[in-house]
Amino acid sequence: MTRIVEQSNTTRRPRRKRRFLKASTIFVIVMLAYSVLHFLLMWVGVNFNSILLSFKSYNRNGTYSWLTGARFFENFELIFTNIGKNVDNYQSMLFSSLAFFVVSCFVTLPISLFFSYFIFKKILASGFFKVIFFLPSIIPLIILTTIYSITVGSNGPVGQLLNAMGIESANLFLTHTSSSWMIWIFCVWAGIGYDVILLTAGMSRIPRDILESCKMDGVPSFWEFIRIVIPLTWSTVTTLFIFGMMSVFTVFLQPWYLAPKVNTTWTIGTNIYFASKGGRALNAPAALGLFYSIIGAPIIVGTRALLNKFFGEVSY
């Protein structure tokens, strides 16, 4: 009898419909949709199209045709032909680009590490310095370069100081050497803030116990920085180092904004930008971009693997 009642109750209970998607899943999809679409369109799509373009030729009616047969690598042949004919130009372009690897990885990053440590140790007005360092990172590049060039120009405060020291500030952006230095200094100044924010965030995760233990053991600040802080934030340092390496390809507007008259300071990116600007024959710059990516990607990936071997995986 009891069994019958139970069965009867079971049959009367309304069966819950199986939901195709949970509400939380819909929420996640909606929240991610824009970002994913943006990534697919603006990164995957653009880069994929760029790769395809490097195997096409431009028709004057605004269309592109596939290169076939013996002409398949024509755009790449053109790169080597141009390099052969313009060795000096390509050398200066490569030098200008590789200089940003040195500037980003061996100047900006160590300085940032140093300042981050001070901020992490909560020196006087550390919060203020944090904002000051980060300020250039949230100002558009065109404004930042304009402020910089006016400041060091002949009527700017730094320019007048340089004039008083016998340096002709009016000519700073007119010669290759002085322009290069001014661009590098700008990149260090503008780049520190971004690095400092990431590094201080990484350092703030270091457990207090470890630092207190160091203090009790009487470890000087310098060795605490070298032997404790750097290894424990190594993953952040590695990431920033890789970003620095990629600046060889990603820095392109700074030389143009700061020293438009000195095209020997232009990087690979600047040259690709100008080859693409003002015309529709995008096959040549696309091939140039792919050519440098093929060279650069393994180096960057290899460096990352190498850097990861310096210190063991740390979790805390």
Binding site: I26, G62, T63, T81, L174, G278, G279, R280
Partner: protein, 480 residues
């Protein structure tokens, strides 16, 4: 359940708004016309007035927009046009026309312009017709303005000091010395009026307007025309780099550069202090406040200098004919901005196309031509002004001087119809690779890298090295 109620409408609304945001095309009425003009040195008073006049005459409502970023958006604009007419410099109209994105204007060119007794084609100024059609023989654009460039001077200052407008290069050099020696004091102690103010920081290319006229004086219009054909001595595209040969085809260009060096680099006191670092705003302020007597500029000088500096002229200005160098073959005017264009997209309704063509036809009429000169303060549309009565506008010394330059000099321009040139327009130009030497030469007067000989050789070498790829990018073979 509640969440579902909220999320689904939210998603639907977002999608709907996103999709509606994509459609920026105005819903055009048959009696409406949409125009986008580049917001530059001609200002917007002229388009506002002409639009009102046209609306009063035809009943077609004109909605105009002035936009400085139009060139950056031109590709997408022509895909999905917001306007029926675009007016700007540097529109790559040949490429758009070849891609079928521009309306063919043959019927406009053959139609009669009301009140003139002439067809639209006959109303064009000298040289405008041949740079408005492609090899297929069809017209796709209308030239926007006919420019005049040169040294603009403070006429009142000249009159007060009895300085004559120089007719020759030597007189120009002598005038600069006279102005310096006059030591006309300024408000700042120890400062006095300088002969020439120029901006090396962002407008050094304004010197082109004088240098190109010296080039034309030395080589004649044929030297310019031979250059802008960009064909080799054998008539081929593939050997077009030969036009840059400093020993033959480009010789006069390099000579003109030498004249500039002799005037400016050899005489640093003729210029404002540190011109290589001077911004346009500073130099315009100097000229507007009477600190310099002359300034290299183009037809938009009167509007732009006052607008840019915020100082209204309390003196008369004028543009001089470029002083003649030894052996000059006549007076020449370099048509600054002759490549500026007015185009109609092909992807708009037929009724809008007709309205747009009618508006361009109206612009070629006497009334609109005069209004443009008046409101743009001395700039001229690219139409024949010989039948336009400018009346009391010619009492304005600046307008009269520009008019005189346009009508009494031989007009030349560097607009090329060679595909190698227009496909590679960022690289191929008199200063190849868009590399200027004015500021650098002034900053380093003894540096041989900026001497006329070295610059000439560098330009030629750059052209030789880059030509094969530029020819290839234009769709030609190595032996074409």
């Amino acid at each position: 359940m509640n969440k579902k109620i909220f999320i689904l409408p939210l998603v639907a609304t977002s999608l709907f708004l996103s999709l509606t945001a994509c459609d920026r095309t105005p819903k055009r009425g048959e009696n409406e016309l949409y125009i986008t003009v580049y917001d530059g040195g001609y200002g917007t008073d002229w388009i506002d007035q002409v639009s009102k006049d046209y609306e009063a005459k035809t009943g077609v409502k004109v909605v105009w927009t002035a936009d400085q970023s139009i060139l950056d958006r031109m590709d997408s604009e022509l895909e999905n046009p917001e306007s029926d007419i675009y007016m700007s410099h540097d529109i790559r109209w040949q490429e758009y026309a070849e891609a079928g994105q521009l309306e063919v204007l043959d019927d406009l060119y053959e139609s009669e312009v009301e009140g003139t007794g002439k067809t639209f084609k006959q109303r064009l100024c000298q040289g405008a017709e041949e740079v408005s059609k492609l090899e297929d023989g069809h017209y796709y654009k209308v030239c926007y303005t006919q420019g005049a460039g040169g040294l603009v001077y403070n006429k009142t200052m000249f009159d007060q000091n009895n300085w004559s407008v120089p007719q020759t290069y030597d007189q120009l050099v002598a005038l600069c010395e006279t102005i310096n020696n006059a030591h006309i004091p300024l408000d700042d102690p120890g400062q006095y009026v300088k002969p020439i103010g120029w901006s090396g920081a962002d407008r050094e290319y304004y010197w082109d307007y004088i240098l190109f006229e010296w080039w034309a004086q030395l080589g004649g219009a044929e030297a310019i025309n031979q250059y802008k054909a960009y064909l080799g001595d054998d008539g081929k595209y593939s050997t077009g780099y030969q036009v840059y040969n400093p020993s033959t085809n480009h010789e006069e260009f390099i000579q003109a550069y030498q004249y500039w060096r002799d005037l400016i680099v050899a005489n640093p006191t003729f210029s404002n202090t540190k011109p290589q670092d001077a911004k346009l705003f500073n130099v315009n302020s100097m000229f507007a406040s009477g600190q310099v007597a002359m300034i290299p500029y183009a037809q938009w000088a009167k509007y732009e200098i006052q607008q840019n500096s915020g100082i209204q002229f309390n003196f008369d200005i004028a543009m001089m004919k470029t002083p003649k160098v030894t052996g000059a073959k006549g007076d020449f005017n370099y048509n600054v901005g002759f490549g500026d264009s007015m185009v109609i997209p092909s992807n708009i309704p037929d009724s809008s196309k007709e309205n747009a063509k009618d508006f361009l036809r109206y612009l070629a009429g006497k009334e609109a031509c005069k209004t443009f000169v008046d409101k743009a303060r001395g700039a001229f549309l690219a139409f024949d002004y010989s039948i336009v009565d400018l009346g009391d506008l010619l009492n304005d010394t600046y307008i009269a001087s520009v008019y005189s330059k346009l009508t009494t000099c031989t007009n030349v321009n560097v607009c090329s119809m060679n595909p190698v040139a227009y496909i590679n327009s960022a690289s191929i130009m008199p200063w190849i690779g868009n590399t200027y030497y004015y500021s650098k030469a002034f900053a380093a007067p003894t540096n041989d890298a900026y001497s006329a000989t070295t610059v000439g050789n560098n330009i030629y070498t750059t052209a030789q090295n880059g030509w094969a790829s530029w020819v290839r990018l234009a769709g030609f073979g190595p032996n074409d």
